[in-house]
Amino acid sequence: MTAWLGFETRVAVRFLREGRLQTVLIMVGVAAGVAVIAYISALVTGLQNNTFNKTLGGQPHVTLQSRDDVVTPAWRKEPGAVVFSDVQAKAQRLRSVSNWQSLLPLLEQWPGVAAVSPIVAGGGLAIRGEATQSIALSGVDLDRYDRVVKLREKVVAGTARLEPGEGIIGIELASDLGLRPGDRLLVRTGTVGETVRVTALVDLGVRELNRRTVIVPLRLAQSLLGLPGGATSLDLALSDVWAAKDMATDMRRQFPYKIESWQETNAQLVSALNAQSVSTGLIRAIVLVVVVLGIASVLVVSVVQKRREIGILRAMGATRGQMVRVFLVQGGIVGAAGSVLGLGLALLMIFLFTAFVRGADGQPLFVITLPASLALQVALVASVCGVLAAIAPARRAAAMDPAQAIRI
C-alpha cells in the first residue's frame, strides 16, 4: 500500500524547513497578499452592504404603479393627414392602481415575493404652529408595510402604531417642527386638512427621507389625497433582492402596469456598486499575480539550489513525476500556510479598523466581518495559486538530468 504523496510531502516539508529564511520570507509575502485580498474583500462587502441597506432599506424591491398617462398619437399616418409634431406631454395626476384589491393576492402568490403592501402616496404640507414643511405623505397598512421596509426596526422614539388619526414621521421632520411622540401636527393636502398624532419617529438612513416622510393609515391618506379606496402603488419585498430585475421584467409581461425594480430606480447606485466590485476584483487579481510570481521566483531559486539533492533522489529511483510533485507540494504548503497567516493578519486589520476608524458620532462607520466562506475561499485560491506557481519550477526540477545534477 503506497501512501499518497507520502514521499513528496516528507521531502517538500524538509526542503522548506531547510531553506528557513527563504521559506519565512515567501510565507510572509503570501500572508501579506492574502491579508490584502481578504481585508479588501471584507471591507468592500461591508461598505456595499452598508450603502445597500441605507439606500434600499427604506425602499421596496419592486413597485407596481399605473402606467403614465400619455398622449396617444394617431394610429396610422395616412398620406396627407395632419400630424402633430409637437405634442404637450400630459400632466401625471395621482391615480389609483386599478383593481389593486384583486391584484394583491395574485402578487402575494408570485414565487419569490415575500410581502406586498398597498400604498397611497402623494405630496402635502405638515404644519405645526407657525412652521410648515412640505412632506411626502404615505398611507399604509402598518403590518404589511413593515414586512416590506422593516419600518419597526427603524423606529428611534415612540412605538410604531397606526390607529386612525395616528402617524409616524421622520426624525428630521420631527426636529424641524419640534415634535415628539404624542404630539400633534396638521397634515394638509390642497384644501383638505387632518390632525395627526405622532406615535413614533423613524430614521430611514437618508436625511432627505427623514425630513419628508409622514406615514399615516391607508384610509386617512386615501381621504387626504382624494383617492377613496385607492392605492397609488403596490410595494413588493422579495426573498432574493437580486432577483428583482428579472421578476419585474416577468411581471411586466403579465400585468398592464408600470413595474420597476430597485435596480431600475437606483441605476446610479447599482453602477457604483458594480464599479466597486470590478475594482476590487482587479486589485485581488493583481495581488494574486504578485503572490504567484513571488512563490514561483523563490521556488525557481530553490530548484537551482537543490540540484544536487534532486540528482541524488533521481538516482535513488525517484521519478520525474515525484520530483514535480515535491515542488508542487512545496507551493501548496507555502500557499496554505501563508493563507492561515494572512487571514490572521486580515482579522487584525479588521479589528483595528473597527476599533479606530469611527464616524463623527463615535460609532464604527460600518460593520466589517470576515465571513468564514470568504476566508475559506481566499485560502483555497491562495493554496491553488501556490501549486500553480510551482508548476514552472517543478518542471525545471524534473527536466534536470540526474547525472548533471550529481556532477555539481
Partner: protein, 261 residues
C-alpha cells in the same frame, strides 16, 4: 564489432555494453565523442575497479551503466533488460530495482538524518517508511558501525562516516549492482581504507556486483578486476593478481570475445 546483439542477449551477463558511443553537445561546434564504441560485460558478484586519467570517460561510462545518462548509440543490457528503447519512467524504475549508488562523500541529502537517508529509497517506493524498512536501515547502519550516529545530519558526520551511510543506503534494497564514483575521494588514508573495507565486506556477504570508479591505484589493486579507460576506450581489462579467480568473474575488453570460464 565483436558481439552481435542476439549473442549478447543470451549470454546472461549482469551488465553488457556493446559498441557504446557517447557524444556531448551533438550538433554544436563543441560536439565531442567521449566513448568510442566501448564494449564491456560484468557478471554477478564481480568487484570491478574502473580506472583511468581524468577525461578518459570513466564517469560517463559509470553514468551510462547507472542509467543516469543515455548512450548515443550502441546496446546496453542490465539484468536482462535492454535499455536503449526505455522511456524515462521505465529507466527510473529499472534504476530503482537494480542499482545502488555511492557517490562522492558530499552526496547524502543534507536535510535528512543518516537514518532518513538510508530509508529514503523505501520512502520513494512506497510513500512511507515501514517498520521493516526502518529495521533494515538500522541493521545496515549498525553493520557499518554507525549505531550511534543514526539521527545525525550528514554535516555532523565525518567524511568516512558519510560514506558508510551512503553504502548502507545503496544496499538497503539489495540491488544486484552497486556503483561507486570515487567513494574514497577527498577522504584521508585511514577513512579511505575503512570505507573500502566496508565495500569489500558488503561484497563478501552478498552476491552484489560492485563497480568502483577510482584514480587511486592502491584501491584498484585491491579489487578483483581492473578496467582501465584511456581516451574513451578500454585500454586494459584484467584480473588483479592475487585476487581469487573463479568468483564468477569474466572480462571482455573491446578487443576479444568473452572468456567464459
Amino acid at each position: 564489432m565483436v558481439h552481435n546483439a542476439p549473442a549478447a542477449a543470451q549470454s546472461g551477463h549482469l551488465i553488457e555494453l556493446v559498441d557504446v558511443h557517447k557524444s556531448y553537445n551533438i550538433g554544436l561546434p563543441s560536439e565531442a565523442e567521449v566513448l568510442h564504441g566501448l564494449s564491456l560485460s560484468i557478471d554477478r558478484g564481480e568487484f570491478v575497479a574502473l580506472i583511468g586519467p581524468s577525461g578518459s570517460g570513466k564517469s560517463t561510462l559509470l553514468n551510462i551503466v547507472g542509467l543516469l545518462e543515455r548512450m548515443t548509440t550502441g546496446s546496453y543490457r542490465i539484468n536482462g533488460t535492454a535499455v536503449a528503447s526505455l522511456d524515462d519512467r521505465a529507466l527510473t524504475m529499472l534504476r530503482r530495482d537494480t542499482l545502488g549508488f555511492v557517490f562522492q562523500f558530499h552526496h547524502l541529502l543534507p536535510a535528512f538524518t543518516a537514518l532518513e537517508n538510508v530509508t529514503m529509497p523505501g520512502l520513494i517506493r512506497e510513500g512511507r517508511v515501514s517498520r521493516q524498512q526502518l529495521e533494515r536501515a538500522r541493521e545496515l547502519l549498525a553493520t557499518v558501525g554507525l549505531s550511534d550516529a543514526m539521527d545525525k545530519r550528514p554535516s555532523e558526520l565525518s567524511g568516512g562516516m558519510q560514506q558508510r551511510v551512503a553504502i548502507a543506503r545503496a544496499l538497503v534494497f539489495d540491488p544486484p549492482v552497486v556503483l561507486a564514483d570515487e567513494p574514497t575521494g577527498n577522504l584521508d588514508t585511514a577513512s579511505s581504507d575503512e570505507v573500502f573495507q566496508e565495500l569489500r565486506r558488503m561484497h563478501r556477504e552478498r552476491s552484489t556486483s560492485f563497480v568502483i570508479v577510482t584514480h587511486d591505484p592502491r584501491l584498484a589493486a585491491r579489487c578483483d578486476r581492473v578496467v582501465e579507460l584511456v581516451d574513451g576506450a578500454i585500454a586494459r581489462d584484467e584480473p588483479v593478481a592475487g585476487s581469487l579467480p573463479g568468483q564468477g568473474a569474466s572480462w571482455t575488453g573491446s578487443g576479444g570475445p568473452p572468456a567464459r570460464p
